[in-house]
C-alpha cells in the first residue's frame, strides 16, 4: 500500500476483440470517463460489462487503448505499458464475491495489507469492518455468514487497501431491496471521505433508477449513451436499450386523453384503433409516445374476460406458436402486433393454436413509457 490517493477520475479507451469457437466474435470498443462517486454501468448480459471491468482491473489485456487515473497510467498499448493487476490498486468485487473460504473474515480483510506493520494493519481492518458493520464477524469463516454479510465483507476487503478505483460487478444481486439500499448507504458514506470513482455494473433497470447519479449504457460492446438516469432513459436510442433489457414489445402511439386524478392516460397505438391505458407521464394529448411491454407481462385468455382489475383487454388472433426450451413465443395481431410469452403448460391447457382468437390482458403498470 502506498500513500494517500487523491480523488481522480478513471479514464479508459479500450478495444478488445474476443474470439472463441463457441460464439461469434465479440468486439468491445469503448471510451469512457468515470468521475469520483457512483457511476452505473448498465446493459444486458453479453453487452461486454464484465470484459470492460476485467480490462480496467488488469485481468484481461486490451488489444489496444489507454487506461489511467489522474496521472497514473495503468495501461497504454502505444507506450507498451501494462501494469500488473496486483500493482494497479483497482478494487474489484466480483458477482461471486470470491471470499477466501479458508480464512476468517478478519484475515480476508487483512489479506491486501500484508506490507503493513501488524498494529497499523489491525487498526485499518477494525475500522473498515466497522464501516461496513461486520466487526462482530471478524473471527467467523465466510461459509458461516449470511449473503448480505458476505457482500459487506467483500466490500470491506477491497476498500481497506485504499484503492484508486472500485469496480462492482453486480455484487448485490440476490439481496432484497432494503438490504441492498442499506449496503449502498454504507458504501456511499465510506466514499464521502475517499471520493474514488465507483463503477457499478447492473442489468437491472430498477437499480439504475435507485442508485444512479450517472449512467453509462452499454450494449453489444459499445456505449449507447452516458448521462443521468433521466438522460439515458429519455435518449432516442433508449429504444434499443429497452429491447436489450428485455422489453420485447415496443409500440409507438399518440396520447389521446390524460386522467390526472387517476394517474393514467389513454394512448392510441399508431395506425390502429387499439387503445391502451398507461401510467401518466408529462405529456399533452397529441404527443407521440413509445410504450415498452415485456412479453411475459401479457396474459392470454381464450374467452373475453370479465370482472378484471386490469384495464387493457385487446382482442386479437394468434399468428403462430414458436416453441422454445421453457416458453412458447406467440405473436398476436390485435391491429397492433404484440409478442406474448406463455408457458408450454398454458398452451396445452388452453389448447392454443395458430389462428385462434384470443384476448390479451395488460395491466396499466406493465405499460412502460420510454419516450
Amino acid at each position: 500500500m502506498a500513500g494517500e490517493v487523491k480523488p481522480a477520475p478513471l479514464s479508459a479507451r479500450i478495444r478488445k476483440e474476443r474470439r472463441n469457437s463457441q460464439s461469434p466474435p465479440f468486439l468491445l470498443d469503448v471510451s469512457l470517463e468515470v468521475l469520483p462517486g457512483f457511476t452505473i454501468l448498465f446493459g444486458p448480459s453479453g453487452a461486454g460489462k464484465s470484459t470492460l471491468l476485467d480490462c480496467i482491473a488488469g485481468l484481461v489485456r486490451p488489444d489496444e487503448g489507454r487506461i489511467f487515473t489522474g496521472e497514473t497510467v495503468l495501461f497504454d498499448s502505444s507506450l507498451a505499458i501494462d501494469v500488473a493487476a496486483q500493482n494497479r490498486r483497482v478494487a474489484y468485487v466480483f458477482q461471486t464475491l470470491a471470499l477466501f473460504p479458508h480464512l476468517t473474515v478478519g484475515q480476508n480483510v487483512a489479506y491486501g495489507l500484508h506490507g503493513l506493520e501488524a498494529e497499523h494493519r489491525n487498526r485499518l481492518v477494525a475500522e473498515t469492518l466497522q464501516a461496513f458493520r461486520v466487526e462482530h464477524l471478524a473471527s467467523r469463516k465466510p461459509g458461516d455468514i449470511s449473503g448480505g454479510e458476505k457482500q459487506r465483507v467483500a466490500l470491506a476487503r477491497s476498500l481497506v487497501t485504499d484503492p484508486r478505483v472500485l469496480l462492482l460487478d453486480e455484487p448485490l444481486t440476490g439481496l432484497d431491496a432494503e438490504l441492498k439500499a442499506a449496503i449502498v448507504r454504507d458504501l456511499r458514506a465510506w466514499n464521502a471521505a475517499k471520493q474514488i470513482p465507483i463503477l457499478y455494473v447492473t442489468h437491472s433497470r430498477e437499480e439504475v433508477d435507485a442508485l444512479g447519479e450517472r449512467v453509462i449504457a452499454l450494449a453489444d460492446g459499445r456505449i449507447l449513451t452516458t448521462g443521468t438516469p433521466m438522460d439515458v432513459l429519455e435518449s432516442p436510442r433508449r429504444a434499443r436499450l429497452a429491447q436489450a433489457a428485455g422489453f420485447e414489445n415496443l409500440l409507438d402511439g399518440t396520447v389521446l386523453e390524460l386522467r390526472e386524478s387517476d394517474g393514467v392516460m389513454r394512448v392510441r397505438l399508431e395506425e390502429t384503433v387499439c387503445e391502451l391505458e398507461t401510467p401518466l407521464v408529462h405529456a399533452v394529448p397529441g404527443d407521440p409516445v413509445r410504450i415498452a411491454i415485456r412479453a411475459g407481462d401479457i396474459l392470454v385468455a381464450v374467452e373475453k374476460p370479465r370482472g378484471l382489475s386490469a384495464r387493457n383487454v385487446l382482442e386479437g388472433q394468434i399468428e403462430s406458436l414458436e416453441r422454445r426450451a421453457t416458453l412458447v413465443i406467440a405473436p398476436v395481431d390485435c391491429g397492433a402486433k404484440f409478442v406474448v410469452h406463455v408457458t408450454p403448460g398454458a398452451v396445452q391447457s388452453l389448447g392454443l393454436s395458430a389462428g385462434q382468437r384470443v384476448w390479451l390482458v395488460l395491466k396499466t403498470h406493465s405499460c412502460h413509457l420510454v419516450v
Binding site: 496486483q86 474489484y92 466480483f94 470470491a98 477466501f100 473460504p101 479458508h102 491486501g112 500484508h114 477491497s158
Partner: protein
Amino acid sequence: MESLWLSFRLAACVAVILLAIGMPIAYWLAYSQWRGKFLLESVVALPLVLPPTVLGFYALVAMGPRGPLGKLWMTLFGHGLAFTFAGLILASVVYSFPFAVQPLVVAFESVDPKLLDASALLGAGKMRTFWRMILPLSLPGVVTAVVLSFAHTLGEFGVVLMVGGNLKGVTRTVSIEIYDRVQSLEFGAANRMALLLLAISFAVLSVVYAVNRRLWTPWPAK
C-alpha cells in the same frame, strides 16, 4: 526388521523430495497456457505404464560408471551411484513421480480461479498467492500426493532390484526381503512382513480417502 526401516527411510526421503520438485512442476502443468503442455504431461505419466524393469534398466545405465549420472556422481562424491541408497532414492523419485504430481495438478486446477484473481487484485504476487491461496486450498491434494508417493515407494520392487541390488542395510528393502524369504522357503517370515506391509498400505490409503472426503478442514489460523 532392518529392511522395513530401510524401506521407510527410502519412502520418506522420496516423498519429501517429490513434494519439493512436484509442486513447481504441478503448478506449471496446472496454469501454463503452452500448447505443448501435453508432452510434459505424458512424460510425467510414463512411469505409470512402463514396467519397473524398463525404468530400472535405464536408471541403471544412467547411473553406471559410464552413464552420465554415474560419472557426475563420481566426480562429485568419489564413488559410484548404482547399488547405493542415494541411487535408490533417485530411481524411486522417477518411479513414483506421477503419484506425487498428478494429485497436485488436480488439486491446483480445482482452486477457483476467481480466488486467484481476487488475491492478485489485493496486491499479492504469484508466490504469495501460491502460499496463501493455492497451497492451503489444495491441502487434501498435497496430503494425497505425499501419502501416495510414500506408499508407492514403500511397495516398489522391480526398480529397487534393478538399481539397488540386494545389499543388506543399504538397498535391501522390505519387498526384496519378502522375495528373498520366499525363495529360501521361509514362508512364516515372509508372511509376517507381507501382512505388515499390507496393513501399512491399507492404513495409508485410508488416510488419503478420509482426507479427500472432507471438503473443508479446520485450517491452521495462519
